[in-house]
Symmetry: C2
Subunit: 329 residues, 2 copies
DNA sequence: GAGTTCGAGAAAAACGTTTCAAATTTGAGT
DNA sequence: ACTCAAATTTGAAACGTTTTTCTCGAACTC
């Protein structure tokens, strides 16, 4: 198998293993001629550093974990792309975990990340419980919350103002003349869903909001919600969906049932995924700086890992942006 | 930090470290009373196994690498979900790399995977060059090709018949009465693009195929292709796009230019991503068993890793399925 | 009962790096 | 040339597991 280690390289270059390690980790500590001799040996022998040995001795790895709620959602895909780009630029690998909305799966995934001794974890937590994250932090694993504001000052987070976003969306629906409004959402245990509802209610200023809670936030669930809405109590004037996946499913369900959008019902989603603009009736939505979310979170995390001394924890909050298209015109 | 290792657990349980290791790895070798004593100690001390130490000594890890071409493409997201599910079920972690179509980035990612001593690699190669994969295999890292047929019998692969898919798509367009057909594709260095073109040409049986090659396979590129098609030589009767992302962009570009689909031009995509059905004009497409692709590939890989003795290499080829919707009616 | 087998657990030697103090070389200043 | 400090390199001891060999005693066989 892979018989060539740092030792063989050292021998081949006529130096000690320690020097090879220095070439690998602190090249500036090694004189130019020795360095190039070692580098040549590395190349000739096809040496590949054994990451585990390195991690074991050094006490920390060059990997970060990323735990998302739904890898199938383009929102998270975009975040992932941002994370990947920054991490890979700085020489880190990304260990991806998908919790698929299941708390126990998330727990299992975090255990795997802890076992791998990742340097840090980027997580969109599926619930509020901070205990699991504390356990990671106790082990010296930095944690940055993604798309979730931190409640504590000793914790970095990158989030988007969901209350504001919900308010903007519903205010927009109201300004279009809607009176009765429905909010179609995923599980109300999810903070994003809660906050967007809170924003919606704030925009309504006391007037009632009809809430339809679905178990998932997928196009399929959106379509089911359409049927539910139609069969139970009839259609409202306007519908606010907690994400675009739900909204696209809703749109499909409505059109399928012969409902005109926006003629009979106005519809707005959330996230402004790429496909929102291309749908049957182009979808109004609330845009989030998704890719940027991933980038900034990773920069924060790696800063915390690489410069623990100077690192200042930050809770960053982006503002979402209303995108108006056909579905609310 | 994480001061609690196997040693502390051993002491706390009144056994030797070796026994703790046995509880962890071969529980059946340990008598029931000792085992439960050790398990209790593990729980009480909050012990988490150090994956790197384990990998170092054991010589292999519990991670597999997944290298995809574009994590932003729902096709790969679905594959990833399949991989994740199987891997996580069998106790493996997934190291995700996105090559973003760049050969050099793919190379760098593979190096990282090699350094991490992943047990195996699932890869959708961005080009034909088998040398890089051979280098992995030399290091004892199993490789399974995803969405790419293997040319060699000592190599597992899971693919979908792209020639057949291309042929089916174009045959369908022809049966709809189209005479002149355009093929809008990504870089023709990509096998999938080539094969689908080959299939298209086979369906045409010698009649000419107008090929528009774009640098990327994104909605943006698709929209640009629409402009290009309109400005350069006018519209064909029907358009076959190498994937749905291109097709959705194309659709948008066409509608934007006032072209009616399918009235003026028929349009078919490839992959049948979720959003194809929800687009402005619902999109005909060629469906691939995407999630299944990921699952099967991972099962093959883990079988190769866990039972190297009995493992038989397989080259699996799925058949795609034509999905007819409005855009070709 | 003596001889044998068997199972459970202990002890110690790896695995391939990094790290740190110590040793050596180099170079500048006189 | 000679000294002293700085720069470079060395060598050996970790890091936390797994694995292999060994010991000890109990259970079995005749």
């Amino acid at each position: 198998m892979s018989a060539v280690g740092i030792k063989e390289v050292a021998e081949h270059a006529g130096v000690s293993p320690g020097t090879v390690s220095n070439v690998l980790n602190r090249p500036e500590k090694v004189s130019a001629p020795t360095r190039s001799r070692v580098e040549a040996a590395i190349r000739e022998l096809g040496f590949v550093r054994h990451g585990s040995a390195s991690t074991l001795r050094a006490g920390h790895s060059k990997t970060v974990g990323l735990s998302v709620i739904d890898i199938g959602n383009p929102f998270f895909t975009d975040v992932t792309a941002g994370v990947e780009d920054v991490a890979s630029d700085r020489g880190y690998a990304v260990l991806l975990s998908n919790s698929a909305g299941s708390r126990s799966k998330e727990e299992r995934n975090l255990l795997v990340l802890a076992e791998q001794r990742v340097r840090g974890v980027l997580i969109t937590p599926s619930d509020e419980d901070p205990a699991r994250l504390d356990r990671l932090r106790e082990r010296g694993i930095s944690v940055v919350l993604v798309d979730h504001p931190a409640h504590r000052p000793d914790q970095c987070s990158v989030a988007v103002n969901d209350i504001g976003g919900g308010e903007t969306a519903v205010a927009h629906l109201l300004s279009g003349g809607a009176a009765e409004i429905a909010y179609v959402t995923g599980p109300l245990t999810i903070r994003q869903c809660l906050d967007r509802r809170a924003g919606a209610e704030r925009a309504l200023g006391g007037r009632p909001l009809r809430v339809v809670e679905m178990a998932a936030m997928t196009p399929r669930a959106g379509q089911q919600a359409a049927e539910k809405l139609i069969s139970e109590g009839g259609l409202p004037d306007a519908i606010f969906c907690a994400n675009d996946l739900l909204a696209l499913g809703m749109l499909r369900g409505l059109l399928h049932a012969g409902v005109r959008v926006p003629g009979d019902v106005a519809l707005i989603g959330y996230d402004d995924i790429d496909f929102a603009a291309a749908s049957a009736v182009s979808l109004s939505s609330v845009r989030q700086p998704t890719y940027q979310l991933g980038r900034v979170a990773t920069e924060l995390l790696l800063d915390e890992c690489d410069n623990p001394a100077t690192h200042a924890h930050q809770q960053i909050m982006f503002q979402p942006e209303l995108i108006v298209r056909e579905s609310t015109r």
